[in-house]
């Protein structure tokens, strides 16, 4: 008998295993049993009376209710940079990014509110200095949209809204299926006169809704902000709504009253039908950089400049042995922000040329550089007046002209040095430019 039991047990296990391999799908409900599913418990009882066997059966059934859970989590790990003077154009400026996830056991409509929190701190982001300020314009202007395909553009079918001057902007993003996610993006204008390290924080509050209207309460005694509980006495076989969201421990992740359309000072709570998270912008200086090159000399044509920095009409070519001028220009096109400790690194392509170093034969005693060069830096035509001191005799020099006019300096390449390494431009204040200039020769070795 024991052998029989063991055999039948193993046989049974084999049948179950075969059933699974044959395509019995595992639970398809990552967020739990679907709302509305009927769960039935069937019990069988057998007994003997005077050795006569009988049976009885019983069952109980209930329906699984709607467990509504939204989650909002910013995808930004720190402050998102914004440039003074930027215009809120999708794809061309940095955006705040919030991921909204439907963790319910059913599809649910979702409405969101974007709350402008000025210069509020954001937990987990780099600490602000004392008395942080919000950059202008105030109220903030820009756009919030439901970036369904997460491509940073506002495509057809993606709900969007201009930021409301009231400081709160509501957006109905329609229905999310179980486990569906969508990205909420926010971009803003920044006043050209904005200072550095100024902030603009935004909280996205997502709420469960019905046909675009936020639910004010569930059927289990939980109320949404501005709403009231509608605790429903209920039988087993109906589907109720239960808020099951988690709150936030961060004070900046606030609640929003969708009934009265007002932001609340209270943090996101458990079971309030909402979820919220906060991210923000920081204004920073943006330096533009561009590189200019021209041929000063070739062994056949001679020089392009006459020894006083004036063009002589000749057009030397990029022949082996030719001498080229590189100018790396840096410009701070913001109104008032300063960039500190600006430095330039520049790899020189060794296949195309080599730095003229002191021990290399000077191809000419008359290589000259222009008095100035003009090229586009960050969208602005910028003129750099070159320091021509000792230009002819010190062809291995790197001229470093700091953004502050007074700190022009020079440094030499080392023998065979392939790069400009950490050339210091110092502080670049708003409206200032600096440059690094150097000469190379096109390798004429066989």
């Amino acid at each position: 008998m024991n052998c029989l039991n063991r055999f039948s047990r193993l046989l049974g296990v084999g049948v179950v295993a075969a059933g699974l391999a044959g395509g019995v799908a595992p639970s398809a409900f990552a967020e739990g049993t679907d709302a509305g599913t009927a769960v039935t418990n069937n019990v069988t009882l057998s007994f003997d009376v005077n050795s006569v066997s009988q049976t009885a059966n019983a069952s109980v059934t209930f329906q699984v209710d709607r467990k509504l859970v939204l989650d909002v989590t910013t995808q930004n790990s720190d402050w998102v940079t914004a440039i003074p003077g930027q215009s809120a154009t999708p794809g061309s400026v940095n955006a705040l990014d919030y991921l909204v996830t439907n963790q319910s056991n059913d599809s649910v409509d979702v409405v969101i509110a974007l709350v402008d929190q000025a210069a509020a701190a954001v937990t987990g982001f780099t600490a602000q200095g004392a008395s942080p300020t919000a950059f202008n314009p105030t109220p903030a202007t820009g756009t919030v949209w439901n970036d369904l395909n997460d491509n940073d553009a506002i495509d057809g079918g993606e709900q969007s809204a201009a930021l409301d001057p009231s400081g709160v902007t509501e957006l109905n993003i329609g229905s999310l299926t179980e486990n569906q996610t969508t990205n909420i993006k926010v971009i803003v204008d920044v006043a050209a006169a904005a200072g550095g390290d100024e902030y603009r924080s935004f909280t996205v509050v997502a709420a469960v809704a019905n046909a675009g209207t936020a639910l004010v309460g569930d059927d289990s005694g939980n109320a949404a902000p501005g709403g009231s509980s509608t605790d429903v006495a209920n039988g087993l076989n109906s589907v109720e709504i239960v808020f099951a969201d988690a709150g936030s421990a961060n004070s900046e992740d606030i609640q929003y009253d969708f009934v009265g359309s007002s932001a609340l000072g209270t943090p996101d709570a458990d079971f309030d039908g909402q979820s919220s998270d906060t991210s923000g912008f920081i204004s920073i200086v943006a330096l533009s950089v561009a590189k200019h090159v021209e041929v000063l000399y070739d062994p056949i044509t001679g020089n392009a400049y006459d020894g006083t920095g004036t063009a002589n009409g000749a057009n030397p070519k990029s022949l082996p042995g030719a001498v080229l001028l590189y100018v790396v220009g840096v410009a701070n096109n913001t109104a008032s922000l300063s960039g500190q400790n600006v430095a330039i690194d520049d790899d020189i392509p060794d296949s195309a040329g080599e730095v003229l170093v002191g021990d290399q034969a000077n191809p000419t005693t008359a290589v000259d550089v222009p008095a100035s060069v003009t090229f586009d830096v960050g969208g602005t035509a910028t003129t750099f007046t070159l320091d021509r001191t000792n230009i002819i005799t010190d062809l291995d020099t790197i001229w470093v002209h700091g953004c502050q006019a007074a700190n022009a300096s020079a440094q030499a390449f080392g023998a065979g040095d392939p790069e400009v390494d950490d050339a210091p431009l110092g502080t670049c204040a708003g409206g200032e430019q600096g440059y690094v200039a150097y000469l190379v020769t096109i390798n004429d070795a066989p």
Partner: protein, 167 residues
């Protein structure tokens, strides 16, 4: 076969449903069976202690813990034979049995991992997992069975319980 083995085999046959063939001729004897379900709610009291209370099943959502109670009552006028009451409860779909929660005074409790084909104590149950034979976990159980050892006199009742978590 010993007498005990014979009795075990007879119960096995009953579980398969063949016992239906034996029903009849007991007009004055009957055991009524009922099952109910409650939600188990954990609450923090003022001392910070977690206590659990039972609530009516008004709102049941995934991850909720449920208590099923099966009550059996001898509604007849004859005593039910000792050791003959066998309660077989396949676990409801979309639920997972919670280990150690099956209870019932005066009962021997066994479990099945093969849909009720065979039953055994937890430490004897095995399943095939990742190509190897492994000890069964509570989540593997498909069916619970209670065998009520005493005789059940007319008017007497008993109950058994178990907990599950809704997936």
């Amino acid at each position: 076969m010993t007498v005990k083995e014979i009795r075990m085999f007879r119960r096995f046959v009953q579980v398969l449903g063949l016992a239906l063939l034996l029903v009849g001729g007991a007009a004055h004897a009957g055991v009524e069976l009922a099952t109910s379900v409650k939600k188990v709610v954990a609450v923090l009291d003022e001392n910070g202690q977690v206590t659990r209370r039972l609530e009516a099943v008004e709102s049941v959502v995934p991850e909720d813990v449920l208590l099923y109670t099966i009550t059996f009552t001898n509604a007849g006028d004859e005593t039910v034979d000792a050791g003959s009451i066998v309660i077989t409860n396949p676990l409801p779909a979309e639920t997972v049995y919670l280990e150690g929660t099956a209870a019932g005074s005066g009962t021997e409790i066994t479990f099945s991992v093969d849909g009720g084909e065979t039953f055994g104590k937890p430490e004897t149950l095995e399943v095939q997992r990742d190509g190897t034979t492994q000890a069964a976990q509570a989540a593997d159980y498909t069916t619970i069975r209670w065998i009520f050892e005493p005789a059940l006199d007319p008017g007497q009742s008993g109950d058994v319980t178990f907990n599950v978590r809704l997936k």
